[in-house]
């Protein structure tokens, strides 16, 4: 015995075996599932690095014999989408110009909405909130055409501004709910103390609430960036070809009927389009989980 005091039977930490049946089953399942989900991505990456002659040989799982970045370059700057042939780059910048203002404006408005609903119980607050939440349950299809008329009357149909307005409006119910729940979970006494200290509506919002709300802002940002970036329906309905967002352009590239199907270019274009949400997830995944938890649990 190393130890001076001797115990009979079980003592100290319970010993664990690395290759217990439980571990083998658990990790085995995880590895199989991970493999299953990664195969499509693998095929996409591999195919995008092959030349067309190699693809025609048909071994979609085989790694490229000769690595070429030609398809990526073509997807980004040369692929044809209907009228113009300058690749996805145009769509990328369109998407950036749509996503950035939509995300900023919608989060800004929704956070103030949520703050007002949580802390300043104005008359009719409950009715307002109910109507807003009801909006989350109306299918988008129902509102497509009325929205077209609305935008036309406002003179912003077919413009980037119009699409930004649409994204902001449609993001409002869920974002307001998110912010309201988060602000409700903050201790009410903090708000009261700030009122006694003479801070007003905006003073409390900017000086007390905002600094405490980073996690929920990250959650809202992730939801909005991925949601708006991945949007196809609104993009195709409310914009014109030269300001199509990246997703619509991707569809036009992949579904173009003239000429040869360039699988490698299609794969590269698809990965390029998915890269932005993917990056967001990798960078802020941890904050995302923390923010979701913070919104759900009181404290």
């Amino acid at each position: 015995m190393v130890d001076a005091t001797h115990f009979d039977g079980a003592h100290g930490p319970k010993p664990t075996r690395a290759f217990s049946r439980r571990n083998i089953f658990l990790y085995g399942t995880l590895i199989v599932v991970a493999f299953y989900y990664l195969i499509p991505l693998y095929v996409m990456v591999v195919t995008s690095l092959k030349g067309m002659p190699e693809i025609r040989m048909g071994n979609i799982f085989a790694p490229p014999v000769e690595i070429t970045f030609e398809p990526w370059v073509k997807a980004w700057s040369e692929a044809c989408t209907g009228l113009n042939c300058d690749g996805l780059s145009r769509g990328f910048w369109n998407s950036v110009r749509i996503t950035v203002p939509s995300v900023l404006v919608s989060i800004l408005i929704a956070s103030v909405n949520g703050y007002a609903l949580a802390n300043w119980r104005f008359k009719g607050a409950d009715v307002f909130f109910t109507i807003l939440i009801f909006g989350a349950f109306i299918p988008y299809q129902v509102m497509l055409y009325p929205m077209v008329i609305l935008l036309r009357e406002m003179g912003i149909y077919g413009t980037l501004t119009g699409l930004v307005v649409v994204h902001t409006i449609f993001g409002m119910p869920i974002l307001t709910l998110l912010f309201r729940n988060y602000f409700t979970s903050l201790p009410e006494e903090l708000f009261k103390a700030a009122r006694v200290d003479g801070a007003g509506f905006w003073g409390i919002y900017f000086q007390i609430m905002l600094p405490m709300s980073l996690p929920i802002f990250v959650v809202a940002m992730i939801l909005q960036v991925t949601g708006i970036w991945n949007d196809f329906l609104f993009g195709v309905v409310y914009t014109k070809p030269d300001i199509y967002p990246m997703t619509v352009q991707l569809n036009n590239i992949v579904n173009s009927v003239q000429g040869v199907k360039e699988y490698n270019v299609n794969m590269a274009a698809t990965i390029l389009t998915g890269l932005v949400p993917l990056t967001i997830y990798f960078v802020s995944g941890r904050l995302f989980v923390r923010g979701i938890a913070a919104g759900a649990v009181k404290g």
């Binding site: 201790p187 006494e189 009261k192 103390a193 009122r195 006694v196 801070a199 600094p211 405490m212």
Partner: protein, 359 residues
């Protein structure tokens, strides 16, 4: 308006929908007075404090502070400072930031802010903590900072909403003394909400015992303890609570079963016969030889003994109801002992059975 009234509540009603939380409440608090609002949870004491602070809109009635009608005024314009149970310190600001936040909002010049924060920090002995964030403070330190935040505002009325309830017992006792000293030094009006009767008894100039949105009794700790106005107050104040026997008053005697107490020594506020409650505090029950000279003597059996060191509590039974008595800490009684107890009508409280008011 006389200047001696610091806070006046006039006919105050607050309703949430159909529920009246406060019912036509009147309360006048003098300059420099320490008033404690005492009651169990849900009695409306915190609601009343929030109404005084202006954090809740009243349904009817008025709130006056320092001779001004502040019923519609913003909390920051009322000349109040408030301390909350959960401290409510702004987590992202330092202690200094917390204390100066209100002054910055009031656009007080910087040198003046610095002076006042330094003064408050000195009074509360928190100078070494000024650059820390609240998360790096202990519970007691946090509550001190919260008090400091009210202190720097240089107001006439301090409102405390159960400020010590989140602290452990020892710290609570220490801070209680400090609060008392602080009040003696500052001489501000203080309104203090608590459910802890020890805090109420030790801190208050006057206690307002509340129940169901009404003030049951308003008086000095001595009055509330020794001459409770009604059965609720008698039962609520004191631990263990007052022994209550059910019976009838007949010709200057209180009769319950075999028990008959002569009431010659009792100071009646109104003469009454008929069904009544007889209440006597455990410490007014004498034991053994001390019981020789009392109005009434009883032989009872001790059922439970709680030796607290400073004193000893014994549970007995009189007329089928629980009956506590308090005796010296060194007393050597134990469960199962047969003892003689006695008490005087002069130290008792009598309540009418019907309206439960003091007789």
């Amino acid at each position: 308006m006389s200047n001696t009234h610091s806070v006046e509540i006039k006919n105050l009603t607050l309703s949430f929908g159909a529920v009246d939380v406060l019912k036509k409440l009147d309360l006048t608090i003098g300059q420099g007075e320490f008033l404690v609002l005492l009651g169990s949870s849900g009695c409306g004491k915190s609601t009343l404090l929030n109404c005084i602070a202006g954090l809740l809109d009243v349904t009817a009635g008025q709130v006056w502070i320092n001779g001004k009608n502040v019923t519609w005024a913003e909390p920051s314009e009322r000349g109040i400072g408030m301390v909350f149970q959960s401290y409510a310190l702004y987590p992202q600001m330092t202690v200094e930031g917390n204390m100066s936040f209100g002054l910055k909002n009031a656009k007080v010049p910087k040198p003046e802010i610095k002076k006042r924060v330094a003064h408050a920090a000195d009074v509360l002995q928190i100078e070494p903590l000024l650059n820390r964030k609240p998360s790096a403070l202990s519970g007691g330190q946090r509550q001190r900072v919260a008090i400091g935040r009210a202190l720097v505002r240089d107001v006439d009325v301090f409102l405390f909403d159960e400020p010590l309830s989140n602290l452990d017992a020892k710290l609570r006792a220490d801070l209680r003394i400090e609060l008392k000293q602080l009040h003696a030094r500052l001489k501000n009006t203080m309104i203090y909400v608590t459910h802890d009767q020890i805090e109420a008894m030790t801190l208050a100039d006057r206690i307002a015992v509340m129940k169901d949105g009404l003030i049951q009794q308003l008086g000095s700790p001595d009055e509330v303890y020794n001459k409770p106005e009604n059965l609720y107050v008698a039962d609520f104040i004191g631990s263990p609570s007052m022994n209550l026997l059910e019976g009838v008053i007949e010709d200057q005697f209180f009769k319950a079963g075999d028990l008959s107490v002569p009431l010659a020594g009792y100071d009646f506020s109104r003469q009454a016969n008929g069904a009544a409650w007889f209440g006597i505090r455990p410490e007014h029950v004498s034991l053994g030889s001390e019981a020789e000279s009392t109005d009434v003597k009883l032989n009872v059996k001790v059922e439970v003994v709680e030796a607290l060191g400073s004193d000893t509590l014994a549970l007995t039974e009189v007329n089928g109801t629980r009956f506590w008595l308090r005796t010296s800490g060194q007393s050597k009684i134990s469960a199962g002992d047969a003892v003689t107890i006695g008490f005087n009508a002069a130290e008792a409280s009598l309540f009418d059975k019907k309206d439960e008011k003091r007789l």
